[in-house]
Every structure is written in structure tokens, then in C-alpha cells.
């Protein structure tokens, strides 16, 4: 197991830098993918994660590759933060034989077991009950593994959410239910789909802690994730952690945003957490301009190389269809 888990960088600036590194990798990857989609160079259903980068980037500091993450169709940020190698990740998005899942799953169904990214589901709420099983296995085997399952505000209205949180509380499972509340489920605003102001209040119905945090605030998110993950790790059971955030590019690629008040989006984008974090890093003087730029250069190279690899890869042979249906 990666011994760095639990041991956080001592310096606040180092924490922020590590968050920035992941967040910028996500931001740049998302930007590149959208550009390629726009130009028609690639074609797939894409649910942009721009605006939500900080949440998994801050959370990942508490996780090793032995820990598990489960996510959704809007999963690029979670996948990158969990350490899925970018080449096989992008190749999977493009349906290539070199993809993490040999091109069989696609962007909505990424698994990369080696890095602990276990399931990406396209069914709203489908990941939560599965997270419990993963966590139960760790608990029964006395393994030091935490499971973080990501889902949206909309998903908190589906039955699977309820059953999963209740069972996790009753069985005291080492799982963190991380709700990325981006204020919309598809085109429906969160306040139209529930009659309470914050999703974390739902924790009261299960007897587990419920916490709301500004998911775009790196240190607040880091602290909140640390508390929930430590709780899970030390056997104290599950937490419902609601991280407030915003999706900059609507539900899916091509969304016209007509259902969103324009100023809401404008305000959120003006408060873009990734450049904001960069400004803070550089301004505070703790991290030199140069170091950040070097980092960004590495990130761009890594992402660009991975995209080139994915683009150059072949689609799977049709005969591959018959494999992996059964063992």
C-alpha cells in the first residue's frame, strides 16, 4: 500500500500544489476533449467535468491505489484523480482496443482495476449499492481500504441512494458517499427536484454524519474529504459528504444551457476554481511561478501524448465482441 496515504504534505502550499496538479490535468484534458469533439476529430457522448475539478483532486490526496473509487458517466475528473493512466483512459473514451476496457465500455463505463477505479456507471444512482459491497469485502478481509462513491445531486432522489446509505450505516461500512452537487440534474435545478436546501441533511435519515462543503474551495474540500475518509478508514463508518460545485458546460456536450439563468453560469465561470487556485499558488509566493509553469508543461505533454496514443490506436477487431461476456 502507498504509504503516503494519511501523511499529507506538511505545508499548505504543497497541498494546494498537489491539488492544482491534478485539477489542471483534468481541466486541460477536458478542454482538449471538447476541442476535439467540436472539430469532429472524435465523437462520443461527453459529460464535461469543467468546474468540478477540485473535488476529486483534493479527495485523492487521502487515497492510495489500494482504495476504491466508483463514479458516473460524468467521471473524467474522478478517473484522472484516481490515477487511471491517461493513455488507456482516453483510448477507452475513443473506443480503441488499447483502452482500459478494450473499447468495450466507453466513457460511461470505465474500469481500471489496477488503479482502483472500479466502476463507472451510466445508471443514475447505480454505483452506490455497489460501493457498499466493495466496502464490505474490505471490512470482512480486514483490509485498509476505503471506498469513495461519487454521484450527483439528482442521484440523491433515487431509491438506490436511500437503500445504499441505510445499509452502509447499519453495517458501518468504510465508504464515503460523495455527492457532487452541481446544482442541476440534466436540465432540472436541484431546488425543483427536492424540497430541502442541502443534500447532506439526508444523512440524518440514516444516522451517519452529513457534511456540506464548498467543493470548489481546495482546502475546505481537502479537510472535509480527509475527515470522511479517515472516519471510514478507522472503522467509524460512512459519511455523506456534499460538495457544492457547478458544471460549466451543461449536462452533456452540445447542451444549449437554455434552462439555466445566464447570470448563474456567468458568475460560476467567473469564479473558475482552477485558475483561481493557480493565482493563489503563485501570488502567495510559496510556489514559484516557474515551478507551476514547469508543472503545466509536463501536464500538457502527458495529456497530449496520451491523446495522440489514443487517436493512433486501432478499434478492436469484431471478433473481440464474443469475449468477456462470460468468464
Amino acid at each position: 500500500m502507498d504509504k503516503s496515504v494519511g501523511r499529507q504534505p506538511e505545508n499548505e502550499n504543497e497541498i494546494l500544489l498537489r491539488i492544482y496538479e491534478t485539477a489542471e490535468k483534468i481541466r486541460y484534458s477536458d478542454e482538449r476533449l471538447r476541442t476535439m469533439l467540436m472539430s469532429g476529430q472524435v465523437r462520443f457522448n461527453y459529460y464535461s467535468v469543467r468546474g468540478q475539478e477540485i473535488i476529486p483532486s483534493a479527495t485523492a490526496l487521502w487515497l492510495s491505489s489500494e482504495d476504491y473509487v466508483i463514479t458516473t458517466y460524468r467521471g473524467l475528473h474522478d478517473q484522472i484523480a484516481k490515477g487511471v493512466p491517461l493513455d488507456v483512459l482516453f483510448a477507452e473514451y475513443m473506443g480503441k482496443a488499447t483502452g482500459a476496457c478494450k473499447g468495450k465500455g466507453g466513457p460511461m463505463h470505465v474500469t481500471h482495476a489496477a488503479s482502483g477505479l472500479l466502476v463507472t456507471t451510466g445508471i443514475v444512482g447505480g454505483g452506490l449499492p455497489i460501493a457498499n459491497g466493495v466496502a464490505l469485502a474490505a471490512k470482512l478481509r480486514n483490509e485498509d481500504r476505503v471506498t469513495v462513491v461519487n454521484f450527483g445531486d439528482g442521484a440523491s432522489n433515487i431509491g438506490a441512494f436511500h437503500e445504499a446509505l441505510n445499509l452502509a450505516a447499519v453495517w458501518e461500512l468504510p465508504v464515503v458517499f460523495l455527492c457532487q452537487n452541481n446544482l442541476y440534474g440534466e436540465h432540472t435545478a436541484v431546488e425543483l427536484s427536492m424540497a430541502i436546501p442541502s443534500i447532506s441533511e439526508r444523512a440524518l435519515a440514516y444516522g451517519m454524519p452529513g457534511v456540506t462543503v464548498d467543493g470548489n474551495d481546495p482546502l475546505a474540500m481537502h479537510t472535509a474529504a480527509g475527515t470522511a475518509i479517515s472516519r471510514a478508514r478507522d472503522g467509524s463508518g460512512p459519511t455523506l459528504l456534499e460538495a457544492r460545485t457547478f458544471r460549466f458546460f451543461g449536462h452533456s456536450f452540445g447542451d444549449d444551457d437554455a434552462y439555466m439563468p445566464g447570470e448563474q453560469k456567468a458568475r460560476a465561470m467567473a469564479d473558475d476554481p482552477v485558475p483561481k487556485l493557480r493565482t493563489r499558488l503563485v501570488a502567495d509566493g510559496g510556489i514559484g511561478h516557474e515551478r507551476v509553469e514547469q508543472l503545466e508543461e509536463c501536464i500538457r505533454a502527458e495529456v497530449d501524448d496520451a491523446l495522440a496514443f489514443a487517436l493512433a490506436s486501432d478499434y478492436p477487431e469484431p471478433t473481440e465482441l464474443a469475449a468477456d461476456v462470460y468468464a
Partner: protein, 337 residues
């Protein structure tokens, strides 16, 4: 400037989405008992992900409503409203999500008329989109109409043309039983056609002969029957084969009369659907044809359905998976002998 064409077909060409929108609009206008709900269906939410419900909430107010993401609650609300006399049209965005609401559909909607000894009917319609459309993958592409056809009490409709979509949706809404109305996503915007007069209904349970012929009968529904029609037309043009093409349109109850009559004459049948072949709707139809026409056929009934795998993502695999033109043509040729 030419004189406008005043006779014949004057209605503009509609695609599937507008045909459905028109049917909903007409039904809502005709009967205050009709209500429509589902995720994002109201206008402030864009009038539906494929705009099928656009304009309706503006026109009909609270009778058209967006819901939270709660498929059990959506179908349950439809069941409840139906048993007290409303005619709800619930939208379950994609057919895979029907699994989430399965209990309400098969244990409640399908059975409440019977269990109550006829006291409470369940005149609801569930609209849902389905089928392979290029990269939607394993959890967004399935066609599982066979599950519902195996559930007594339900009716299952799968139109392949805008006019059938409109006329059958109206029939489903005004039918006194629960109807599963399956919209093939790959036909949504491409196919166009005129949809007939306002209020025109197409009866549930009747097949449509898309093309008549004498040498072989293709029976099916959804996208593959559209492809089969093209194949049949080409084979007739190029090779003089006379193939009858029957669109079931309704999967349960399916039109045994028309199918048996046709195959009784042609002596050869090929069944096509997009759902995986094994244990699919085609098995029942094939079994019935063999039961009724035993000893009269010139060849075994052939079936063309998708491969027995989850729906793959990569385009090369998706093409290998889906029941499509090459497989349909091969089955026809093989059955013609």
C-alpha cells in the same frame, strides 16, 4: 409558380419526435384526464431531452410536469393516477432505466386490473427510447420488449414510422390497459413521413404490410424491419425476388392472423428485431409459426436478432453486435434457398 397540390397527402412531413409531440398535444387537448410527466419534460427544462414534449407544459400547465430522477416514483405515480381514471403518459428516458421501475411496471401496472377483479383498470402509457444509435454503450442501448411481452396485462408497441408512432401513441393513451410504447432512437430524426389527420389512431395489435410479396415473408419491428424493407426492395429490383415485409408494430398482442396468413402463402419466414436474438420476441413468433404451419413450410423460420452480448461501445464491435442489413440479407437468401 406551380398550383398547390390540393388532393392527396397535404400534411407536412414529420419526423418521429414531432409525430410524438403531436400525438401528446392532441391527446392532452382531447381529454383532461391525460397528463404527462417524466424527467425534464416541461418547457423550463427544455421540453424533453429529444424535445418530444416541447411546448406542452406551456400549453397545458400542471398537467405536464418534470420529475426528480426517480423512475419508481414516476411509474408509481402513473399507476396511481391511472387507477382513479386519469390517462397518464409517463416518460422513462431510456429503456434500460425501465429496470429501475420494473416492480411498478410488472407487479403493479400489469396486475391491478386482474387482482382487483376488474375494479381498477390501469390506462397508463410508458414512453421509452431504446436501441443502438452509435456509442451509447451497454447501459443505454438495450431493447428489452421481450420482458414486457412475457408479462400478462401489458401491451407493448414498437412503431417504426412517424405515422404509426403518432397513431399508435394515441391508441395507447386512450387504451384502457397499460401500454409500453418503445421509441427507436435511431429512427428519431432521420425518418420522415406524413402522419395523417388530427386524432387519427392506429389500432393496437395490428401489423402493417409494408410491402407485399409471394416468395418469403419478413416479420419484425423497429429499425431492422425498415432495413428489411430496403433489402426486399433491392432484391426485387435486382433479382426479381418477391418478398412480403410485415411490420408487427405491436409486439404484444402481436398480429398472428396477418403473419400466419402471409407465411401460409409464402412458406418461408424470416424474423427480425434489434433485441438480442436468444429468448427474444422472435422465438415466440417462430414457435407459433411452426406450431400453426407445421409441414407446410419450405424452410425453417430464420431469426435475426442482435448478438448475445451486452451492447459494446466501440464502433467495430457495435456493428458486429447489432442486427442489421447484412444479417437480414443473409437470412433472406439462406431461407430462399
Amino acid at each position: 409558380m406551380s398550383t398547390p397540390e390540393l388532393t392527396g397527402d397535404v400534411s407536412p412531413q414529420q419526423n418521429f419526435a414531432t409525430a410524438i409531440n403531436m400525438a401528446l398535444d392532441e391527446a392532452l387537448a382531447e381529454d383532461p384526464a391525460v397528463i404527462v410527466f417524466g424527467e425534464d419534460v416541461a418547457d423550463p427544462q427544455g421540453g424533453g431531452v429529444t424535445k418530444c414534449t416541447q411546448g406542452l407544459s406551456t400549453k397545458y400547465g400542471p398537467r405536464v410536469r418534470s420529475t426528480p430522477i426517480s423512475e419508481q416514483a414516476i411509474v408509481g405515480a402513473a399507476v396511481g393516477a391511472a387507477i382513479v381514471g386519469m390517462r397518464p403518459v409517463a416518460e422513462i428516458m431510456l429503456m434500460n432505466f425501465m429496470a429501475v421501475a420494473m416492480d411498478q411496471i410488472v407487479n403493479h401496472a400489469a396486475k391491478l386490473r386482474f387482482m382487483s377483479g376488474g375494479q381498477t383498470g390501469v390506462p397508463l402509457t410508458i414512453r421509452t427510447m431504446a436501441g443502438v444509435v452509435g456509442g451509447n454503450g451497454a447501459q443505454h442501448s438495450d431493447m428489452v420488449e421481450a420482458w414486457f411481452a412475457h408479462s400478462p396485462g401489458l401491451k407493448v408497441v414498437v412503431p417504426s414510422r412517424p405515422d404509426d408512432a403518432k397513431g399508435l401513441l394515441l391508441s395507447c393513451i386512450f387504451d384502457d390497459d397499460p401500454c409500453i410504447f418503445v421509441e427507436t432512437l435511431s429512427l428519431y430524426f432521420g425518418t420522415k413521413g406524413s402522419v395523417g389527420e388530427s386524432g387519427q389512431r392506429i389500432p393496437i395489435g395490428r401489423a402493417r404490410i409494408l410491402k407485399s410479396g409471394t416468395d418469403l415473408t419478413v416479420v419484425g419491428y423497429g429499425k431492422p424491419i425498415v432495413e428489411a424493407l430496403s433489402v426486399a426492395e433491392r432484391l426485387e429490383r435486382e433479382e426479381g425476388c418477391s418478398i412480403e415485409v410485415i411490420d408487427l408494430r405491436t409486439v404484444s398482442p402481436w398480429d398472428e392472423g396477418v403473419v400466419l396468413d402471409s407465411v401460409g402463402r409464402s412458406k418461408r419466414a424470416v424474423l427480425v428485431h434489434e433485441a438480442v436474438q436468444r429468448f427474444g420476441v422472435g422465438a415466440e413468433v417462430a414457435a407459433r409459426i411452426h406450431e400453426e404451419l407445421f409441414g407446410e413450410l419450405e424452410a425453417p423460420v430464420a431469426r435475426v436478432g442482435s448478438a448475445f452480448t451486452p451492447v459494446p461501445y466501440a464502433p467495430t464491435l457495435e456493428a458486429a453486435y447489432v442486427a442489421g442489413t447484412p444479417g437480414i440479407e443473409a437470412a433472406i437468401r439462406n431461407t430462399l434457398g
